[in-house]
């Protein structure tokens, strides 16, 4: 009972931190001569106020969660994946290509193939930095940042030329987009809203990733390599291979997120020339969501929803009270900073609790700070 209460407070900490950030935001709103109560009411309504709003929040949370799942894997393997943006794009490109090529096949088959294609595309785009890191000692932060830029240009190139919507190819304006996917290929809607099957897929995958990390030898190895490459090598684990695998899987989930965006939301690929135009920055924000969720696949679910709600709600706030979009970005930044800063209290509480009852320490809720530590010397 007490245990559950403690867990509840832990879970609420990010929410409390978010509220604190919004309180700071309220001061800025006042400075802009906007009524903060009205503004935040709009934010709440926009995120949770109606079935539709809730659905939008979940739609936003879906790619975040998928990316976050990949991040859980790679960060636990001690490889940093900042390449989610590029991996989403490549996954989406491949998935779109499948949908535009195999037009004769039944919908379920094409969707399955497309998801596999997205997964594969992301895996390739994540696997390359993995190989570069494991076998060429190229730092993955550097290579994933670079691979993002390359993916964007590749997308622009493809959508302007080889993959352009045939109807646009005729026009002078040549909007860089692919043709629209056949209706039969769209991911099913879960309610009469934009909420689509992708959300369900993401939640199921969260459970699978949990199982992967803590119930399989593969997960055991990825975590072992992440914690101590030395001990892992000694234990007979091929360290480079699992480094690559961690990044590859991480990329694969991001790629899947890209595919789901195309098949569940946009029904085509379209570029404004930047990565975030397509991804909505889910490739970055997914990292934030995963860390909010303490790199735990299941905790990443509420974390993604929280973050999705914030993004959707903030846009709605912009519309309702006409605050500049820049303020929304500031608020976002504040929330991220406040939430990571609140971690320390969660850790302190956890330590205090462990001092009281040592058994409380469970392998399935690891401490985030510990995750990144590795053998000294």
């Amino acid at each position: 009972m007490r245990q559950r209460f403690e867990t509840l407070i832990d879970a609420l900490l990010p929410v409390i931190a978010t509220l604190a950030a919004l309180a700071v935001g309220a001061l800025m709103l006042l400075a802009l001569k906007v009524n903060p109560i009205e503004a935040y009411a709009a934010l709440w309504d926009g995120a949770f106020g109606s079935t539709n709003a809730l659905a939008e929040t979940l739609v936003k949370a879906t790619p975040l969660l998928l990316v976050a799942l990949g991040i859980c894997i790679s960060f636990r393997g001690d490889v940093i994946n900042i390449g989610g943006e590029g991996q989403m794009i490549i996954g989406a490109v491949l998935a779109t290509w499948v949908g535009l090529t195999f037009t004769g096949l039944p919908g379920w088959l094409v969707i399955t193939l497309a998801m596999v294609a997205g997964f594969t595309g992301g895996a390739v785009w994540g696997g390359v930095p993995g190989v570069l890191k494991a076998y060429f000692n190229v730092n993955e932060i550097l290579s994933t940042v670079m691979m993002n830029a390359i993916a964007v240009q590749l997308m622009n190139f493809l959508l302007r030329g080889p993959m352009i919507d045939p109807s646009q190819a005729q026009l002078a304006s040549k909007i860089p987009q692919t043709a629209r996917l056949e209706d039969a290929f769209h991911l099913a809607r879960l309610a009469p809203t934009r909420l689509h099957l992708g959300a369900l897929i993401a939640v199921i995958l969260a459970i699978l990733v949990y199982i992967l990390l803590w119930r399989t030898t593969l997960g055991f190895r990825i975590r072992a390599v992440g914690q101590s490459p030395f001990a892992s090598r000694y234990a007979g684990i091929k360290v480079p291979r699992y480094m690559v695998l961690a990044l590859l899987l991480s990329g694969a989930f991001a790629g899947l997120a890209g595919a789901v965006q195309v098949y569940g939301v946009n029904y085509r690929m379209i570029t404004d020339g930047s990565a975030s135009g397509f991804t909505g920055s889910a490739g970055f924000n997914g990292i934030v969501a995963a860390l909010f969720g303490q790199l735990h696949p299941l905790w990443s679910i509420p974390a993604s929803i929280l973050f999705g709600a914030l993004l959707v709600g903030a846009n709605s706030m912009q519309r309702m009270v006409q605050v500049p979009s820049a303020l929304i970005t500031v608020l976002n930044g504040l929330v991220v900073v406040f939430v990571v800063s609140s971690e320390i209290w969660r850790r302190r509480r956890q330590r205090r609790r462990m001092a009281a009852a040592p058994e409380a320490e469970s392998p399935s809720k690891p401490d985030q700070a510990q995750v990144r530590k590795e053998a000294k010397s």
């Binding site: 820049a326 991220v336 900073v337 990571v340 971690e343 990144r372 000294k376």
Partner: protein, 310 residues
Amino acid sequence: MITDLLSTTVLIGILASGIRLATPYLYAAIGETFGQKSGVLNLGVEGQMLLGCFAAFYVAYTTGNLWLGLLAAMFVGALMGLAMAFVTVNLHAQQGISGIGFYLFGLGMSELLFQRLMGTVETVKGFPKIYIPGLSDIPGLGEIFFNQNILVYGAYLLVPLAWFVLNKTTLGLKIRAVGENPDAADSLGVNVARVRYFTIILGGTLSGIAGASLSIALLNVFQQNMTSGLGFIAVALVYFGGWKPVGVLGGALLFSMVNSLQLWIQVLGIPVPSDIAVMMPYVLTILVLVATVSRVRSPSALSKPFERES
């Protein structure tokens, strides 16, 4: 047409442009090098740069004094650094993620202030090119090296200076020790928190200057999100440079020269799709690292909060 690339005009153009373009990368990446050397990964460079960009521009625009503008950028960068230091050093917040938070904050804040205080895009007269009699007139070399503004020279002076501080001073020794084994440094009475505060604030200040070098020296305008990912590239260049100022310099020059090269490829009408040309610097940066299989290790304590066990 490919042979056109070898003409002196193009070569001089590429070199001069590479040297100029490298300036903001250098300031930001050297600042980041100090942070990472002491074990702090700051992904908020872009946000610090943007705020520095705006502060420099706004102050220079309203007061007409470029130096005040530069000071303002340094101050704002330092302030961002201070906040980052508090969050990562005292609150042990996950560094990468708080950096992303500060990036978003800087991105939004610079734009918000721009909208409120300026309203529209304006220009200032930035730091002028410095004409060095004799040297600036040397054909080719003069154009490349001696026809730049003061912040460009500053960036290049920063490289040996940073090397000197890191390798020849007691402070540098502390920074390196704190980034490798903060427990050991702590056990010798080195104040780990203070060292990290110093490097993070220094990093912020330099990012601020990087921003100023764009808004009041190289471009002389401010526009929302005008750094456009430059800060993230700067962070990547620290890895490229293997945490050495000279390596960072090499990376910055390589990246910006290839960027300039791709502009020339387009200008000379070499038939490469523009998107593919734009990709070049990114691809090449990776390839160079692959080819030079370096064995540099990152500072052991990088991105790990330091906390005495109890």
